[in-house]
């Protein structure tokens, strides 16, 4: 008898929607503190970047330490668009368009950066993505952009150097960033984007293209010898990964009042933080990334009562989990314990 079961990806969608429903009910009932409410959008957006990065690390098998850079270009480009269109387009049209622009710009950067980066291997690739992420952050941090009747003005030195006319407005004010982006994003929109990102990722994994990408990960030379176009498929994986990170950037810029290209938002530390989510959620396990990002983002925030000890506890937990999950000694011990448990309780071991 063949039993019909729901696939794992369907379960992921159901769980995400259930979480959304529970949060909405709690919010209506007033059971969520304002602090917790402020964490909902960031937690979702970290989950989205984690999905994007997992495509690069888990499916494509290349370590990227520069995904914060793709978030950064997505955030800035969409913010500029939203500010420009603030008074001409209603939210219902403006935000989807801003989202598309952010995704397109991030994908374009993914493509341009991918051309040189994907020629390298392993740790060299990782360090060059880190370099590109820092370059993007650094340039946007130093960029002054203004507009007046004569058109766009850009400078890398100061606001004065722009030489704006009296009617001009500043768009990007160097390290002060962009202010006044309409706050179009909320938790519901963030969940919708997360579902779309999950859908894209799951479909990519289960498609012909996804299998080609994974074959490159498993054995590049064997894949090449059966006629898989390495450059094409590597680029495909990298661009999709960058585009999803860009979508998260759009959410970010539309949920805060001032967008700055500072290290705490777009530095290599953020890329590493997301990599931690991906690895703890399971490399190549898309739903695991969402869970890990949500739990690990909320964990330090919920440990706030422990004040200065929370990051210390977080780091110790991180090291302990890595050792427990990966060390061969710990793995053997776990198999032994599992074997003993099955013996005692006589239950069948799951594969």
């Amino acid at each position: 008898m063949k039993k019909k079961t729901l696939s794992k990806s369907t379960w992921t969608y159901i769980v995400v929607i259930l979480v959304w429903a529970v949060v909405m009910i709690l919010q209506q009932a007033g059971a969520l503190s304002s602090h917790l409410q402020g964490l909902l959008v960031p937690a979702t957006y970290y989950a989205i970047v984690a999905v994007g990065l997992n495509i690069c690390v888990g499916i494509l098998g290349e370590l990227s330490l520069g995904h914060a850079g793709f978030m950064c270009v997505g955030a800035f480009s969409s913010s500029l668009f939203s500010i420009a269109m603030q008074n001409t387009l209603p939210v219902g049209i403006r935000f989807p368009l801003a989202m598309l622009i952010g995704i397109a710009v991030a994908a374009l950067f993914g493509f341009l950066i991918g051309i040189p980066v994907l020629r390298l291997n392993g740790d060299y690739l990782a360090i060059v993505t880190l370099a590109f992420g820092e370059i993007i952050k650094n340039i946007l941090n130093a960029l002054y952009l203004g507009v007046d009747s004569k058109g766009l003005h850009a400078s890398f030195t100061s606001q004065m150097d722009l030489g704006l006319e009296a009617d001009g407005t500043m768009l990007i004010n160097g390290p002060m960033g962009i202010s006044g982006t309409p706050r179009d994003a909320n938790f519901t929109i963030a969940i919708v984007i997360l579902l779309i990102a999950l859908f894209v990722a799951q479909n990519l994994v289960n498609s012909r293209d996804g299998r080609a990408i994974m074959s490159i990960r498993d054995n590049r030379i064997a894949a090449e010898s059966v006629g898989i176009n390495i450059t094409h498929y590597k680029m495909l994986g990298f661009v999709v990964s960058a585009a999803i990170a860009g979508a998260a950037g759009v959410l970010f810029s539309h949920s805060i009042s001032t967008l700055q290209a500072g290290s705490q938002y777009f530095g290599y530390n953020v890329s590493i933080l997301i990599l931690v989510y991906v690895v703890l959620g399971g490399i190549g396990n898309i739903s695991g990334s969402v869970l890990a990002a949500a739990v690990l983002y909320l964990l330090p925030e919920l440990l706030r009562a422990l004040s200065s000890y929370r990051m210390l506890i977080y780091s110790i937990v991180l090291i302990a989990v890595m050792l427990f999950n990966w060390a061969p000694a710990a793995r053997n011990w776990r198999t032994k314990v599992a074997a003993r448990l099955t013996k005692t309780f006589g239950r069948k071991e799951r594969a």
Partner: protein
């Protein structure tokens, strides 16, 4: 012209600090095949150790540095034993990388708890005021000269150690082929521990020089120099000792000159841009060996 010379010298000095850190990175990478992301934080630990000995306890700077080297050595070897060694046979470089990130968070937050987030102002370990040349137009600070001399000495000693002693030869063997080295009777675990000990002790020296040249000390002092030194190690060809030196000095000079003549905000972008360009032309770095891929 003289001002250019001045900037060039301070660039070489900054580069020498990067080079000492990069030596630690490159040795650990060459032998244990892992990116020790916590290496930058060993610099900070060394800085705080010297700060405690020299300023709080009023000890001699030289003794303080020796104690700091001991502290960093113990922490380096301890992390290797507790956090990295169990994962060595796990077969996933990512697992070790994430654990190293965990160690980095741990050290930063321990320092934050013990010493607080307020920056400590560091007194230079070098009391010599330096040289004045060309009729007072060219002033070279004492710490600048000491930094350059120390890094050259470290390079020479390391080169001699790696090529001239049994332990050094064992390191070379392990870095080339771990399995074959084991078969030849080399104790791989011992060699890796020794590498961590040397790399961490060097980080303490780098911490002393870095904090003497840029005298503020916070729990995050080591992070950015650590990343830059890693870039320097890759630039020079990761795994190569002279490569780390060249990469470090190139990076330091470019950073100071870019900051002075182009833009202080964009200097980091230029430094990272140079890395990208070099790796595109020579994908294994300036002195890196090109290993042919076999099917």
């Amino acid at each position: 012209m003289l001002s250019f010379l001045n900037y060039l010298i301070s660039g070489i000095s900054l580069g020498s600090i990067y080079a000492i850190i990069a030596l630690g990175y490159t040795m650990v990478y060459g032998i244990a095949k892992m990116l020790n992301f916590a290496h930058g934080d060993f610099i900070m630990v060394g800085g705080y150790a010297i700060f405690t000995c020299m300023i709080t306890l009023g000890m001699n700077p030289f003794v303080s540095i020796l104690i700091a080297m001991g502290v960093c050595l113990l922490i380096g070897v301890g992390t290797e034993k507790i956090a990295y060694k169990p994962l060595r046979e796990a077969g996933s470089p990512l697992a070790v990388l994430i654990t190293a990130i965990g160690v980095s968070y741990l050290l930063e937050n321990l320092a934050l708890l013990i010493f607080g987030s307020n920056p400590k102002s560091f007194t230079s370990v070098v009391s010599w005021s330096g040289l004045t040349l060309a009729g007072g137009q060219l002033r070279i600070q004492g710490v600048t000269i000491v930094t350059i001399v120390v890094s050259l000495a470290v390079l020479l000693v390391l080169q001699w150690f790696v090529h001239g002693t049994r332990e050094g030869q064992a390191m070379l063997a392990v870095s080339q082929d771990r399995g074959a080295a084991t078969l030849m009777g080399i104790n791989v675990n011992h060699t890796i521990t020794l590498t961590f000990a040397i790399g961490s002790a060097l980080a303490a020296v780098a911490g002393a020089l870095l904090c003497s040249a840029y005298p503020t000390l916070t729990p995050y002092t080591g992070a950015m120099p650590g990343i830059k030194a890693f870039v320097a190690a890759v630039l020079g060809g990761i795994g190569s000792i002279p490569g780390a030196m060249i990469g470090g000095i190139v990076l330091g000079v470019i950073e100071i000159l870019a900051r002075t003549y182009i833009s202080s905000q964009l200097s980091d972008a230029i430094v990272f841009g140079i890395l990208v360009v070099v790796l595109l032309v020579k994908p294994t770095g300036i002195l890196g060996k090109n290993i042919q891929e076999k099917v």
